[in-house]
Each structure stands twice: as structure tokens, then as C-alpha cells.
Symmetry: C2
Subunit: 504 residues, 2 copies
């Protein structure tokens, strides 16, 4: 028999889940279809709805309900129920422990921050952004104090995005990456060789790009009866429910690789959402875990699958048939090499899988330094450029192309960056386990048969929802905790075959 208190919790949490679904629909609408003139009205609508959700999430009756449940004998609850109670407690505490004054100042600074950051980036003037950044770090330290008392302030900020993961976990992993990837990239640069990618230049009609991307997304397993694919300025995966998952991409006439791989990346996120457990779909237990685990799913499909030789071999004829004028003289092997080039660049979002981790490590080290006061905000441009030189051998000519490139800090999102690279490492570790557990993975990729792969991810990761921490999930799935060696091995092997490094 379900406890009366638990029934009441389910009602409260479901209502919040429905209202959050509504909020997601508003967000999608704003990015994809909303007329430009509606932005002011939409901000008011979002603010009103956010107010309602906040009211529900901080309702003392929810607090009372949780306290009553925690006083009950936990032996009467099953695993899913225990998870829902635990997750509701975490969220309730995070919402109620922060003083209103602090919440308000953070919200104000975040909305002001975006405007200030846009202008500073445009004007290449870090000093215009610095005061706001300083204040945000102070506030985020205060926030950490309230949200996770006794925890290191930066660890608390990481915990907000990557539950249960601390600097003690991350630093040694990132040190291993540095030790291996910096010399690997250096030796690639020393070859002065780049695979031919001239056939990826030219004109690629947008309607053909769209049809190709839609086909591959569907082949991989995206269910279009429970989702959509549209266009937005920045690709994202949104939607209001596992039955309403909406991915986006953007098209440029002169580059079909960008739109296609953005779709595959977002499809990875989308499969996670569509693959959530059927029970408790409107409760925390079924929700996707962390930013890092989500990113592991998008990168799994984008890199482990779609940037592989086998995948290129399977789809090359289709791609060639889509753009016959451009690709008539290319081969599957040339295509594989052309989409796997390594080149140090200033901009994180344009980085390849080899250089990307160093962009992240640089930001992680800076955030760490900002929180332990070993780096001063005013020194950031210099620190940034020095690290870029040290890690990638290039120096940004402007702060616009350097310390001002990302929006994250303008909204106070410290501790978010590590998730990207944790995701890449998880993806590789999951892939390794999958090939051990499933037979014919490579054969299946080569013949475009992705259903067994998707089913494995569904079972091992998507349907696990929020039952475990990322650490516990990775241990359960792969038999060991986060281990960067698979990722390092994968990169070394792959790029040694593409570039003449003389390592083989």
C-alpha cells in the first residue's frame, strides 16, 4: 500500500513536472518559432510561470510532506520511491536554503550579465565585463555556502551540474589528459600534414542537408512521432516530455558537416530523453542524470559512432548520392579523414575531439583559481592566453577570441565546463564496455543497424534515470569508475592512423 504522504508527494512533484514541461515548450517556441516582436511579452510569461513553479517548489507543504516521509520506515518504500523522495529533498533544499536576497541578486546579475557580456565581447573589452564577473564569483561562493554548507565552494558549484563529482575526481583525470594530449597535438602539428577536405567545400542545398540529417537521425533511432527536428540559431535538444523531444540544428549552404553532426549530437541527447523509464515519467526518478551523462550520450553518437570509419563507410554512398557534384571524386576513407582533422583553434565550440579537452581543462583550472583566489579576475586575459599557448600552442589575438568567447560565466554557470569533457570520457568508456558485452557492434555500425546499440544505451543508461550518481552509474555499467585511459587510447590510436606520426 502506498503511503498517503507518498501519494501527496507524487501529486506535488507531477504538477511541477507538468509545469516544467510547459516552461520547456515556451523555451523551444522562443528559439524556433516566436515572432521577434513578442520577446518582451514572452519574458513576462516566462517570469510568471517561473514564479508559479518556484512557489510550488518552495511550498512549506512540500517540506512538511518530505519531513513526514523521512520519518516513515524506509523499508516500506521501493527503490524508485526512495529515489523520488531523495531527489525531491535535494531540490527542495536547493530552492529553500538560499536567502531570497541572494536569489534575487543572482537573477538580476544573470540577466544584466548577458547584455554586458555581449557588449564586452563585441567591443573586445574585458574590463567592461570584469566587475560583473567579480561580483558573480562572490555571489556563487555565498550560494555554495548556503546550498552545500561545509563543501568547498567550487566543488559545490560542480555538484550543481555533476552531482557527487569533485575536484579530487576531476583534477587527476585532467592531468592525465594533459600529459597525453598536449604532446599528441604537438606532434600532429609538427607533421604539417592535413587530410584533404576540399570536397567538403562548395554548395550544399539546405533542403538536401535537411533530408539527409533527418534520415540519419531516424536511422539511429530518433522517434519522430515523439519528437521534432527544426532550425534555431544554436542547435539544442529541448521539448516538454519523453514523448515530445525536440532537436534543432542550423544550416549553412557551404557546410553540410556542421548541420549533420549537430543533428547527430542532438539526436544523442534526444534518445536519452525518449528512452527514459516508462514508470514515473513525471517524477524525478526518471529524469536524465547530469550534464556530463547527457553529454556522454550526445558524444557517443556524434563521435564514437558517427565519426567512426565504419559509419562513414556505411553512409558514404548515401551522402555522395545526396551531393553528387561535390563528392564525385571522394572516397569513404577520404571522407572519414576529412571529418576527423585536428587543428588547434581559439574557439571552443569549433574545436575537434582532440583539442576540445584542453579548452575545457583551461577553463576548469581558471575557475578553480578564481574560487581559491589564486587567480584574480583582472589577470584573466593574460592567464587565458598563457594557458592557450601552453596547451595548444596558439595565442588569441583578441579577448573576443579568448576569455570573452563563452556565455557561461555571464550567467554565473561556474562548474559547468568540466561536464563536456567528462561526457567525452564517459562516452568512450561506455563504448568500450558495449563492445565487450555486445557481439557484432562494428559489423552492425557498418551495416547501419543501430537498434542493438540504442537498446543497450536504453537499458544501461537511459532507463536508469536518476537512480544513481554518475559515479555509481559508471561503476555499474562499466565495472570501474571514471577512467580516462580508454579515451586517451582511442584518441591516440585514431589520430595516429590519420596523421603520419610514426607511432604505429
Amino acid at each position: 500500500m502506498t503511503s498517503v504522504n507518498y501519494q501527496s508527494l507524487v501529486e506535488k512533484l507531477s504538477e511541477v513536472s507538468y509545469l516544467n514541461g510547459v516552461m520547456s515548450t515556451l523555451g523551444w517556441d522562443q528559439e524556433v518559432v516566436m515572432p521577434i516582436g513578442a520577446s518582451e511579452a514572452r519574458a513576462q510569461q516566462i517570469s510568471a510561470l517561473a514564479g508559479v513553479i518556484h512557489e510550488r517548489m518552495t511550498d512549506p507543504r512540500l517540506g512538511d510532506c518530505l519531513a513526514a516521509l523521512e520519518a516513515e520506515d524506509s523499508a516500506y518504500f521501493d527503490t524508485l520511491q526512495i529515489c523520488n523522495i531523495r531527489e525531491a529533498r535535494r531540490k527542495y533544499d536547493l530552492e529553500t536554503k538560499i536567502p531570497k536576497k541572494l536569489v534575487k541578486e543572482m537573477a538580476g546579475l544573470s540577466s544584466q550579465g548577458h547584455t554586458v557580456w555581449v557588449a564586452a565581447r563585441r567591443d573586445n573589452k574585458f574590463s567592461d565585463f570584469a566587475p560583473l564577473l567579480k561580483r558573480f564569483i562572490e555571489l556563487k561562493k555565498e550560494w555554495a555556502q548556503c546550498a552545500f554548507p561545509g563543501m568547498d565552494h567550487y566543488d559545490a558549484n560542480i555538484d550543481n551540474f555533476e552531482r557527487g563529482t569533485t575536484m579530487a575526481d576531476i583534477t587527476p583525470v585532467f592531468e592525465r589528459l594533459k600529459a597525453e594530449l598536449i604532446p599528441l597535438i604537438q606532434s600532429i602539428q609538427d607533421t604539417h600534414y592535413q587530410p584533404d577536405n576540399s570536397f567538403l567545400q562548395g554548395t550544399f542545398p539546405v533542403d538536401k542537408q535537411e533530408a539527409l540529417a533527418r534520415k540519419i537521425s531516424k536511422d539511429i533511432g530518433f522517434q519522430f512521432d515523439c519528437g521534432r527536428m527544426d532550425v534555431s540559431v544554436h542547435p539544442f535538444c529541448g521539448g516538454s516530455h519523453p514523448t515530445d523531444v525536440r532537436i534543432t540544428t542550423r544550416y549553412q549552404e557551404n557546410d553540410f558537416i556542421e548541420s549533420l553532426y549537430a543533428v547527430i549530437h542532438e539526436t544523442g541527447h534526444g534518445l536519452y530523453e525518449q528512452g527514459r523509464m516508462l514508470e514515473g515519467r513525471d517524477l524525478p526518478v526518471s529524469e536524465s542524470l547530469t550534464m556530463g551523462i547527457h553529454e556522454s550520450q550526445s558524444l557517443f553518437w556524434e563521435r564514437m559512432i558517427a565519426q567512426s570509419e565504419l559509419f562513414c563507410r556505411h553512409y558514404f554512398d548515401t551522402i555522395k548520392a545526396t551531393f553528387p557534384d561535390n563528392l564525385q571524386d571522394a572516397t569513404a576513407d577520404a571522407f572519414y579523414r576529412a571529418i576527423n582533422t585536428c587543428k588547434a583553434d581559439f574557439i571552443r565550440v569549433e574545436a575537434d575531439e582532440l583539442t576540445y579537452p584542453l579548452h575545457i581543462i583551461l577553463r576548469y583550472e581558471i575557475e578553480k583559481g578564481l574560487f581559491d583566489d589564486s587567480i584574480a579576475v583582472d589577470d584573466l586575459p593574460e592567464v587565458w592566453n598563457d594557458l592557450m599557448m601552453k596547451y595548444l600552442g596558439i595565442k588569441p589575438p583578441t579577448d573576443t577570441l579568448g576569455v570573452l568567447q563563452d556565455s557561461h560565466w555571464s550567467s554565473g554557470a561556474f562548474g559547468y565546463f568540466p561536464s563536456y569533457t567528462l561526457g567525452a570520457i564517459y562516452a568512450c568508456q561506455f563504448y568500450q564496455t558495449m563492445t565487450n558485452e555486445l557481439s557484432d557492434v562494428e559489423k552492425n555500425i557498418e551495416k547501419g543497424s543501430f537498434a542493438p546499440i540504442k537498446a543497450w544505451l536504453n537499458e544501461k543508461i537511459h532507463r536508469q534515470g536518476s537512480l544513481f550518481t554518475p559515479h555509481d552509474l559508471v561503476c555499474r555499467v562499466t565495472g570501474e569508475s571514471l577512467n580516462p585511459e580508454y579515451f586517451i587510447e582511442y584518441l591516440k590510436k585514431k589520430y595516429s592512423a590519420i596523421y603520419p606520426l610514426g607511432l604505429e
Copy 2:
């Protein structure tokens, strides 16, 4: 100085307005873009949001605030403020005066009603629908008793859609229409003549239909930076705010008139919403008035403007250039005649402007009889068919094509039908006044210069919001109350010129 209570009212009403805007976005999303698999989740989201809105609208603090305002000296309030207080009171009373048990039973019956009606219509089996209809009439009588105590029950249901308008207003107007239109339609049928419309048959590519409709909507004055045009199963005008107005249409390859005139119709609704007063946009005072006044705006553009000879003359070359193969041998005059044919048909939504009022009058008389118990539900199919014979000279071969054709009753929307024809009469009356007040209306239509017409409607109707009742608004704009003679005169003159009636 604004009263503290009034300030509090504004905050409460604005929040409801924002949340209603969110609800409209959900509705648009559901009809236009939502993946089919999401319907269950969407129902839950809508229900959760409706619960929040209901909670706000029935909040005793809103009641206290209104009572306090009503106790203040009204001399301190301006016209807009008085209107907001009055409208808030009306809505608050309508929400709070109905017993919860009744609200719940009506909601349940409405959702069940749609399913039952769809099946009964499909199976041509009125007896399956009859019990539900009987119960709904009982409930709507109860509802009238609570919502408008002392008012006739059917008048109360009409008031819900067409404020301040009663059977005492409508019946004589509809009698005049019957007296004139039934013989007019009869004499048209007696001619056995129909204008040639063969050039409207054929294939009309959807992309060209869409471009044409978009151009004309824009020419008329729809602002696409504050609106959108999309596709849905049934055309509608939705959106979340005057800066976010969304019209839809539907396309059939073999008929461009349907999509084009649906767009013009919905553009008329859209111009009303986009033209709302700038002050108090998130308050009741700025809201569109009634169903009938809204319909007057859509029909103004669809019929008075776009079905006119002048409009056809202006756009014929454009239309011909859009579909050159089909229209090469047609003329502007032939086009005008072809889109203004009169033909008695079983289905209301496919009726022309001459026969449409009789479809409405039939429903009005039936609803009246159902509420005063002079008509029994079980007799409806027979009553329906007899009236069809009497008014239009045709007898539906099935109830599917007769009494079961409309969805309105299945959701308890009694008293809604008259609005359609009131709107047509208002539209004609407004047009008459406009041609008296503005010079060169006809010349402007003929040269496609719609800005002065739109500006007149903006000033006279759209910006008046909810300041007046429909009756007062019509008197202020036209100098007299609802007068069907303009409409009758317009129809007689127009159709005597199209059909050889020997009246001229």
C-alpha cells in the same frame, strides 16, 4: 495617485494574463507542431496550468481586493481602471459562483462529449449522442442559475459569448433575415443558373498558394514581426499576446480559394488582436470584446473587402500570375462571380454568405426550444431536417450531415452560434459607416491600399477593447444599434447582380 488596492489588482490580473498567454501558446503548439505521441503529456500539462490559472482567478485575496476597490470612491478611477475592475469582477463571479461539483461535472461531460460525438457522427447514430446532450442542457441550465441568477437560462448562455445580448435583441433580427433571405435564396435556386467556376478547378501548388496568401495577408496589414502564419487541420487565430498573433490555414492542392480566404478571415481576427490598445495590454480592458465582434472583424475582411468586386479587380492579375495555367482564360469579373456563388448545402462551415445565416438561425431556434422545453432532444433529427427543408429547401440524407455535424453542443457551447451571424451583420454595418466617414474607400480597395481601412478599424473597434458592451460599441461607431437592414440590402444588391433575378 493609484490606489494600493488597484495596484494589487493590476499585479493579480497581469499574472493571469501572462499565464493565459502561456496557455494559448500550448494550444497553438498542440494544433500546429506538437508530435502526435505527446498528446497525453500535453493534456496533463494543460490541466496543471489550467489548475494554476483557476486557483489565481478564484483566489479569495482577489475577491477581497475587488471588494475593497468597490468600496473606494469611483471618482478617483479613470475609465480604463473602472473597466478593469468591472471585468475582473465579472470573471471572478463567473469563476466563483459555480459550485465545484457542477464545474467538475461539466468538465467531465465536455471531455467525454467530444469522444461520444465523434463516434455518433461517424456512425450516424444520434441516439448515442442524445443522453449526453440532455444532461448537458440540464447542467447548462443549472450553470445559468448560478452564473446569472434571475436571467433566462438561454439568455445567460448567450451572455457568456455575446455580452448584454439577449433573445429579445436577436429574435426580431433573425426574423427579418428569414423574411428576406429565404425568398432570395429560393429565387436564386429558381434561376437554375450558376456562374462558371471551372477555372477554380485544377491543381494549385501548395507553395504558391502559401506565398499568395502570405502576400495578401501582409498587404492587408498583418504584421509578421508580431505574428506567424502556419498550417493546421482547422484554420484558427491564436497566439499569446498582441505582439504574438498566430493565424493558420490549410491547403488542398485542388482548391486555392479555401486556403486564401481562410487566411484573409483569420487575418481579420489577427488584426483585431494586433490592434489592441497599447495601454493595459495585459489587463482585461484591452482584450477583444465578444465572439460576435471578433467575427465581425474576420468577416469584414473576408466578405466586405476580399469578396468584393474591387478587391478581385485589384488582385486578379497577381492571382493569374500565380496560377497562369489555370486562370489564363478567366477575367477579374468572372473570378468575382465564381467566388460568390450561392448554393444551399447541408454543412454550415461550407455555406456561402447568403445561406450561412439560415444555418445559424436554425441552430438558434433549436437551442431556444431546448432551453424553454418546447423542443425535446429526441425529436432533434426531425426538427433539424424540417427546418432545413423550410429554410434552404434541402433535407440532409443522414444525421451526420444534419444534426450531428457541429462539435459545439458536445462541449456544452450553447448560445455560441448566434455570434457568427451577429458578426456578419456588425461587419456590414461597420462597413457602411466607414464608407460614410472615409473618402475613397472603394478607390483604395481597388488600388490595394488598405492602410486607411485598417486604421479606421483600429481606432473605432480594436483599440476600444472591452470598454463597452457590443451594443454600446455598435451605437458609438455607427450611431445606431444592431440593424440587419444593411446586411439584407448588401446581399440583395450583390446577388441580384450575380444571378439573373430580374430585380434590378
